[in-house]
């Protein structure tokens, strides 16, 4: 990676979060540096969104510390945007909600995410993929040091997802910002991601997907890899979790017993 500035933007140290006596996250540590893309994966209820919210300061932690660099500008893309149609809102107005911004600036940021054509349209009529791009544009409006994206590709078809991940990679390259994102599409993570964290209330394992992309399992799944920008993060645990078996090839479960924790092929 050609980014020299890789200062620490935000971190979690031994963070645990409980609500009503139920542990949502236990003893999680995480560092996000500038210019780095970290992808969080894990099953439903693994605490991925809770972790993001803790890092954003939206969720109080039960124990441990949350650190954000002083003056850190954060662009946040929430998981689901359901805006009540009772509020008449165009894309242009939506992007100027947080600060006064000229029409040209809005146009520029929409162009950057490939959604310039929806600027004058109502937020309630654009497609799911367009909405995700508009949300990304809003996250970029504050020229963030850190982008926190909660399932940026949800509701987007597979080709669109590939485009969106490529776009996120190019945004990182251009601005050198750090990116922490949640991917629900288990085992489909960005090739450009620097590391993948598998979370199931605690950090199960972390790894570098680049190495994994040469893995026979990857080639077996994608063949000639028609979807550039996507890689398969194949990994195993030294303990049991049922990770939505549908994407995991059978071969992995056969190998399961032989892996030690934090060991990836």
């Amino acid at each position: 990676m050609a980014i020299s500035d890789n200062r620490l933007l935000a971190s979690l140290r031994d963070v645990s979060i409980e609500t009503n006596g139920r542990a949502l996250i236990s003893h999680v540590g995480l560092d996000v540096h500038a210019g780095e893309i970290i992808t969080l994966i894990g099953p439903n209820g693994a605490g991925k969104t809770t972790l993001l919210r803790a890092l954003l300061g939206l969720q109080a932690v039960t124990s441990g510390t949350v650190h954000r660099a002083r003056g850190l500008r954060v662009g946040y893309m929430p998981q689901r945007l359901q805006i009540d149609p009772i509020i008449p809102l165009s894309v242009q107005r939506f992007l100027t909600l947080s600060r006064r911004t000229s029409q040209q600036d809005v146009q520029r940021s929409l162009k950057e995410v490939g959604a310039a054509h929806v600027q004058e349209q109502s937020l309630h009529v654009i497609s799911g993929g367009e909405l995700q791009r508009v949300l990304l544009a809003r996250a970029l409006m504050c020229q963030p040091d850190l982008l926190i994206l909660d399932e940026p590709a949800q509701g987007v078809d597979v080709v669109g997802q590939s485009d969106l991940y490529t776009l996120i990679g190019s945004i990182r390259d251009r601005y050198g910002c750090g990116v922490l994102m949640v991917s629900h599409d288990l085992h489909l993570v960005m090739e450009a991601a620097d590391s993948v964290i598998c979370l199931n209330q605690h950090v199960c394992c972390t790894g570098h997907p680049e190495a994994v992309s040469q893995h026979p399992e990857y080639l077996k799944l994608f063949g000639d890899a028609p979807l550039k920008g996507l890689a398969v993060y194949t990994h195993a645990h030294d303990h049991e979790h049922n990770l939505h078996g549908d994407v995991v090839p059978l071969a992995e479960s056969e190998e399961k017993e032989q892996h030690e924790g934090h060991d990836h092929e």
Partner: protein, 266 residues
């Protein structure tokens, strides 16, 4: 035109101008029952004002704010649904107000005037209060507009972008309390919510943006006040309810006429 009619019109227009934009937020944030609860508690404020010998208007604002804070505390502690909680508070406060009213001796209080408004009995003193309150409320709303709209669209996004959500929320409650106190004499405690939500809901069909909706709601409110007063004058109907009837007729007409439907998708 008679003096009392001019005063009534001026007072009604002032309230409609603030009720439109504020009512838009009530509609967007689903606060109709919340507004109703605050309005119901206003009677307790009236009674306390008389009993303690302090300004009735300020007592109303104080009671409304107390009820709002009480509601927030209950919301955080109780497992009850919001509408249940609002129902309990609204009717408890209204009943408490009616009970407290019965303790007032000496001064004859016209209960009906507080419940349904008495716009034709507005004095110059009332008018000064109504304009002071409305202008103050409009200024606060203008100052809070951007953060309030931002958190209405998406609260967490607004919080991440630096909106002090708790303070803005308190500001909104204060605004509703002021408007309840201002509108009480005009439209009455039981009908204030109607003036907040009906013009705003009607404006939705005509507006392409949030600011446009607020302005259109204010204008529709003015039209309802004018129409209601005319109706009251011509057929000797009660003024407050007549204003609400006209507002409701506008709502039905504008929603039924296909000509206005073009903008409703934006």
């Amino acid at each position: 035109m008679n003096d009392f009619l001019i005063r009534a019109l001026l007072a009604g227009v002032a309230v409609a101008l603030i009720a439109g934009p504020l009512g838009s937020f009530v509609v967007w944030r689903r606060l109709a029952y919340f507004g109703d609860t605050l309005a119901h508690s206003a009677l307790l404020g009236v009674a306390l004002g008389f009993l303690l010998g302090v300004s009735v208007n300020l007592a109303v604002i104080a009671v409304c704010l107390s009820i709002a804070i009480l509601l927030v505390i209950f919301q955080q502690k109780q497992q009850l649904a919001n509408d249940t909680l609002l129902g309990i508070l609204a009717h408890a406060a209204l009943s408490l107000g009616l009970v407290a009213m019965s303790f007032i001796e000496g001064v004859r209080v016209d209960l009906m005037a507080y419940l349904f408004g008495d716009i034709l009995a507005i004095t110059s003193h009332d008018l000064a209060w109504i304009y002071g309150g409305s202008v103050l409320a409009l200024l606060i709303l203008l100052a809070l507009w951007r953060p309030l709209l931002s958190m209405t669209v998406h609260e967490e996004l607004a919080r991440v972008e630096g909106v002090p959500v708790t303070w803005v929320n308190i500001g909104l409650m204060l605004l509703i309390a002021i408007v309840v106190a201002v509108a009480m004499k005009i439209i009455g405690i039981l009908l204030i919510t109607a003036l907040l939500i009906i013009p705003a809901a009607t404006a939705r069909r005509l507006a392409g943006g949030p600011e446009q909706m607020a302005v259109v709601a204010a204008l529709l409110g003015c039209a309802a006040v004018g129409g209601g007063l005319m109706m009251s004058l011509r057929w000797d109907t009660p003024a407050g309810p007549s204003i609400v009837v006209v507002a409701a007729i506008l709502f039905v007409v504008i929603n039924l006429l296909p000509i206005f439907g073009r903008r409703s998708r934006t």
